[in-house]
Amino acid sequence: MDGKEFKVPMNGNGSNGNGVEVSHGLKVLQDRKKTTMAGLTPKELPTWCGGCGDFNILFTIKNTLVELDIDPASTAIFSGIGCGSKTPHFIKTYGFEGLHGRSLPVATGTLLANHHLNVIVVTGDGDGYGIGGNHLIHTMRRNFNMTHIIQNNEVYGLTKGQYSPTSPAGFRSPSTPQGAIDTPVNPISLAITMGATYVARGYAYEVKHLQKLLADGIRHKGYALIDVFQPCSTYNKINTIAWYKEHLYKLEDSGHDPADKMLALSKAMGDGDKLPIGLFYRENRPTYEDSMPQLNGVPLVKKDISDIDITPMLQRFK
C-alpha cells in the first residue's frame, strides 16, 4: 500500500510518529508497505525452553499485528524482566525491555510523549502482578490507550521456579517448599475492580481465540488487560497443557455478556473447578490522553522547543 506521508514540522533533528488515529484505539501509518510476518521478525531467535507457552504468545502477537496491519515503526512494545519479557527483542518494532516490574510507567511515559504510537506491554505474572502491582492498579484506573499482555505461567521462570502471585495455593517451589499459603491474585477481578476497560483472558495454546482477544484489545480504546495462561514446561508442573485441557472453557460458549460488570466479576471469581477464558468485561470510558487538552493537537514530541518564550511566566515574578 502506497500512500501520502504526513509530515509535521519539527524541531530540527529527529521527528516521528506520523501516525493518525483511526477506528478506536488503533493507529496506523499511511506511507508504508503492508505489515508482514517476515517484516516483524528480526534476526535474533527466541531462547525459551521447548514447550514454553511464550513461543505461541509471541507468534500470536505478531500475527495480530499483521492482521491489523499495524505499522511496526509506530509501535512500541514494553516489557520488564523475566522469560517472557524478552519478547520485544523478537518483534521488529520499537521495544523497551526495562526493569523488573516497571514496564507500565515506561510505557505510560512513551504514550504521553507520543500518543500516536501503538503501545503494547508484555510482562510476566511476577513482573505484572507481583513487584509491579502498584503500577498495575494505578495504570488501570487511568485508562491509557494501551494493550497489556500478561504471560501468566503462575511461576517465576527466569529466576528458576519460585512461586508467583498467581501460583495456586499449595504450590511447592524453592521459595515455598512447604507449599504457598498466600491466596493467589485473581487478575481478572482485580482489573475489573480497578477500572480496566477491557479485561480478557486467553490461553497460549488457543492461538486463534487468543488472536481475537489481542486484536480486539488493541482496537479497544483504553487500557486492555489480556491475561494469558502460559504453560511453563520447566517450572510449573501443575498447570501443564494437560491440566489446562481439563480446566478451561470459553466464556463465549456460556453466553456471557461483557457489558455486565457484576456478572463479569462473578465469572472471574467463580469457584467452580473450571476456569473461563475469553472477554470478561468491556466498557467505554474516555482515555487519560483524551482528557488532557494539551494532547488534543500534536503529540508532545512534535512541539517545537527551540526557543520557547517564557516571558509571560516570568512576569508573575515581578
Binding site: 524541531n11 530540527g12 533533528n13 529527529g14 521527528s15 516521528n16 510518529g17 506520523n18 501516525g19 535474533e44 511496526p72 515503526a73 509506530s74 509501535t75 512500541a76 514494553f78 520485544p88 527483542h89 521488529k92 518494532t93 520499537y94 521495544g95 523497551f96 525491555e97 526495562g98 526493569l99 516497571r102 507500565l104 510507567p105 515506561v106 510505557a107 505510560t108 511515559g109 512513551t110 504521553l112 510523549a113 507520543n114 500516536h116 504510537l117 502498584n134 503500577h135 487538552p293 494539551q294 494532547l295 493537537g297 508532545l300 514530541v301 512541539k303 522547543i305 527551540s306 526557543d307 520557547i308 518564550d309 517564557i310 516571558t311 509571560p312 511566566m313 516570568l314 515574578f317 515581578k318
Partner: protein, 611 residues
C-alpha cells in the same frame, strides 16, 4: 543616624499563621521599590502548630542570603520572642500584639532594642477579619521603616486581586493601613533627627501615602525607595521550573516530597500554557520510569524529589544510564536518615547521588548555588542529558529551593537547545543498513532514533547489550559498552565549565563549597573584607565529573583553605581527598537542619585566621 536600606526582618509564629505569604509580600514590595531582597522560611513538618519563621533581608546592594542578626522582629507569640529577640541588632525592635503578650524589657533581657506593641488582632478584626493579622503587621513594618505604603498596597492588589476580588483587596489595604497608622501614631512622634509625622495621608486619587514624617522613635533602621530595576523575585524551585519550561521539558512526572513538591506544583500550574504533561504519579519509581519512557519517545523529561524518593528512584536511575536515555532528576536535599527532618535543609546526599545504583556508570551532577544558577543550570542539564544521553542530576536543598531572591531577569531568548545526535528521518530511512542504536563511536555518543521514525526500530534493554540493543553477555561486548558509556563522560567533561572563583585572586583565605551555601558565603566575604580579611571562594557547581585539576590547583595556590558545607563528615573534602589527594583541614560544617548564615561563617573563618 538610622541605617538606611540594610535591613533584616523576621516574622515568627506557629504553622498555619500564614507567615510565608506575608513575608513574601513584604519582600516583593521592597523589590518593586528598587531594593534587593532575599526571603527564606523555616517551618516544621506539620500543617498547624510548631514554630515557624520567615526572614526577609533587604539591602540597597545585591544581597544573597538571610542574616543571623535582625533589625525587626514581628513576634506572633511568646516563643518567638524567646527564640529570636537575642538576634536583634542594637536599635532593632519587636512588633507584637500587645493585647496578647505583655512584654517588658526584662523579658527580652536587653535595653538596646525597642518594643512596639500593636493590637494586631484587634486591628485585623476591625479591618474585616482575624486572618489579616499579618497584613496589619506588614503595615506596621512599612510604617516603622518609613517605606512606601502605597507600594505595599499594590502588592496586596497583585496578591489578592484576580482570584479573591475587590472586597478582599480593600479589606487588606485597610488592615495594612491600620497597622501603619497605629505604629506611626504611637511610635513615630520624633525621628532621630527631627520630630516625625503621624498617620498616612489620603491622596486625591483615592490612594494614600505616609505623610513624609520620619520612621519609628529610636528605631535604628529605615527603608527608602529607589529606582525600579526590573528584577524578578522567585525561589530556587521556581527558577528550576522556569528553566525546565525554557529547556522544552514537555514531560514531568513526580511524587510530592518536601522540599521538591513546589517544582511539581510549578510545572503543573504551567502545564496548559506551555503544552506539557505533568503527572503526579503513584510513587517515585513510577515517576522516574515515566520520565525515561517519555525521553525514549524523544521528549525532554524530568522528575524531582528529595532523598527518600531518590532512593526509590535509584534503580531507574541506572536504567536511564544503561539504556542511554537522557533524563534530568532534581534531587532536593533535606536532612535524614530516612524521613529525617522533612522541612529542613542539609547537604548529606552528595555521595549517595554520586554513587546511586548498581555498578559504575557515568552521570553528570550539577549543584546550583543560587536562584540564577537554578535557572541556567537546569537548562544546561537538559542540554547535557540529551547530548550525552545520560542521566543528569540537579542537586539542591531546602534552603536553595524554597528561598526567594530578587535577581536580574533571566535573558532567556536565544538560549541554545542542544539536542545531540537525533537522526533526521531522511537519513534513517535511506541508510539501508540495520540501524544501530548503541553504535560504538569515538565520543561514546550514538545516533538516536525514536519510536515513530521509520528505519530506527530497535529494542532498548536494561541488560548489557550489543550495538543493536540485543542482550549480550560476551566479554568483549561488555567491555566495549562499558568503555563507550564512560567515554561519554570524558567527552562531556571537555565542555563542562570549570569551577568559578569569586573574590580577589590573592586572598588570605580560600573557601571551597558547593550548592546552597553560596549566598551566605558571598555575604560572609563582605563581612570578612570589612575586617580586612581578603577571602575568595571556589564554587564547585559540577560535581561529576569532578573538576579535580582546578580544585587541586586552587587548594595548592591558596594561603589557607576552608570547606563550607552542610553535612557532618564533609563529603566535599572526601571528594577532594579522593580526586586530588589533598586534604582540606579547615572546615565550617553545619548539620542541624538549618542553613548557614553569613555571620556564623564569618565568625568561624575569622577565628581560624586569627587562631
Amino acid at each position: 543616624m538610622k541605617v538606611v536600606n540594610d535591613f533584616s526582618w523576621k516574622i515568627a509564629g506557629v504553622a498555619g499563621d500564614g507567615i510565608l505569604n506575608a513575608g513574601l509580600m513584604l519582600a516583593r514590595c521592597c523589590m518593586r521599590g528598587g531594593l534587593n531582597v532575599f526571603a527564606s522560611a523555616e517551618y516544621p513538618s506539620l500543617i498547624r502548630g510548631g514554630h515557624n519563621h520567615l526572614d526577609v533581608r533587604v539591602s540597597e546592594k545585591p544581597t544573597y542570603s538571610h542574616t543571623k542578626h535582625l533589625s525587626l522582629l514581628v513576634a506572633l507569640n511568646m516563643d518567638s520572642v524567646r527564640k529570636h529577640a537575642k538576634k536583634l541588632l542594637p536599635g532593632g525592635g519587636i512588633i507584637y500584639d500587645g493585647d496578647q503578650l505583655k512584654l517588658m524589657e526584662q523579658d527580652v533581657g536587653r535595653s538596646d532594642i525597642k518594643l512596639y506593641p500593636v493590637p494586631l488582632l484587634a486591628l485585623a478584626e476591625q479591618a474585616g477579619g482575624k486572618i489579616m493579622r499579618n497584613v496589619v503587621a506588614m503595615g506596621a513594618t512599612i510604617g516603622l521603616t518609613g517605606f512606601d505604603i502605597e507600594l505595599f498596597n499594590e502588592i496586596l492588589r497583585f496578591n489578592f486581586g484576580g482570584k479573591k476580588g475587590e472586597a478582599v483587596v480593600q479589606a487588606n489595604i485597610l488592615a495594612a493601613r491600620f497597622g501603619c497608622d497605629y505604629i506611626r501614631e504611637h511610635y513615630c512622634r520624633s525621628g532621630d533627627d527631627k520630630p516625625g509625622g503621624y498617620k498616612s495621608v489620603d491622596n486625591i486619587d483615592g490612594r494614600y501615602s505616609i505623610d513624609g514624617g520620619h520612621p519609628g522613635d529610636g528605631f535604628g533602621f529605615r527603608l527608602e525607595r529607589r529606582e525600579g530595576n526590573g528584577h524578578i523575585f522567585l525561589s530556587g524551585n521556581e527558577a528550576i521550573v522556569a528553566g525546565a519550561i525554557k529547556a522544552g521539558c514537555k514531560f514531568f512526572a513526580a511524587y510530592p516530597m518536601t522540599p521538591a513538591s513546589s517544582i511539581l506544583h510549578g510545572m503543573a500550574a504551567n502545564e496548559k500554557a506551555f503544552d506539557m504533561v505533568v503527572k503526579h504519579t503513584e510513587d517515585e519509581i513510577a515517576a522516574i520510569n515515566m520520565a525515561i519512557g517519555a525521553s525514549f519517545a524523544g521528549v525532554r523529561a524530568m522528575t524531582a524529589t528529595s532523598g527518600g524518593g531518590f532512593a526509590l528512584m535509584a534503580e531507574g536511575f541506572g536504567l536511564a544510564a544503561q539504556t542511554e536515555t537522557p533524563i534530568v532528576v532534581v534531587e532536593a536535599q533535606r536532612p535524614g536518615p530516612a524521613t529525617g527532618m522533612a522541612t529542613h535543609s542539609g547537604q548529606g546526599d552528595l555521595r549517595f547521588v554520586l554513587h546511586a545504583s548498581t555498578d559504575e556508570f557515568p552521570r553528570i551532577v550539577i549543584a546550583p548555588g543560587d536562584v540564577t544558577d537554578c535557572f541556567f543550570k537546569t537548562v544546561h542539564a537538559f542540554n547535557l542529558a540529551e547530548k550525552y544521553q545520560l542521566p543528569v542530576v540537579v542537586m539542591t536543598d531546602k534552603y536553595l529551593g524554597e528561598s526567594y531572591a530578587s535577581v536580574e531577569e533571566f535573558g532567556h531568548r536565544g538560549l541554545k537547545m542542544e539536542r545531540g545526535k537525533f537522526i533526521p528521518d531522511g537519513e534513517l530511512a535511506n541508510n539501508g543498513h540495520e540501524y544501530r542504536r548503541y553504535k560504538i563511536t569515538e565520543d561514546g555518543v550514538s545516533p538516536r532514533a525514536v519510536p515513530g521514525q521509520k528505519g530506527g526500530m530497535h529494542t532498548a534493554s536494561s541488560y548489557e547489550h550489543d550495538e543493536e540493543g540485543f542482550e549480550r553477555e560476551e566479554e568483549e561486548t561488555r567491555i566495549a559498552m562499558h568503555h563507550k558509556r564512560f567515554r561519554k563522560l570524558e567527552t562531556a567533561s571537555k565542555e563542562i565549565p570549570e569551577p568559578e572563583i569569586y573574590g580577589p585572586a590573592k586572598a588570605d583565605v580560600t573557601i571551597l563549597s558547593w550548592g546552597s551555601p553560596k549566598g551566605p558565603i558571598k555575604e560572609a566575604m563582605k563581612l570578612l573584607q570589612k575586617d580586612g580579611i581578603a577571602a575568595n571562594y571556589l564554587q564547585i557547581m559540577y560535581l561529576s565529573p569532578f573538576p579535580a585539576k582546578k580544585v587541586a590547583e586552587t587548594i595548592k595556590k591558596a594561603k589557607r583553605c576552608v570547606i563550607v558545607e552542610s553535612n557532618m563528615t564533609s563529603m566535599l573534602n572526601s571528594l577532594v581527598r579522593e580526586h586530588c589527594l589533598l586534604d582540606v583541614r579547615d572546615k565550617v560544617l553545619r548539620y542541624d537542619g538549618r542553613p548557614f548564615n553569613p555571620e556564623d561563617i564569618y565568625q568561624s573563618i575569622k577565628a581560624m585566621v586569627a587562631g
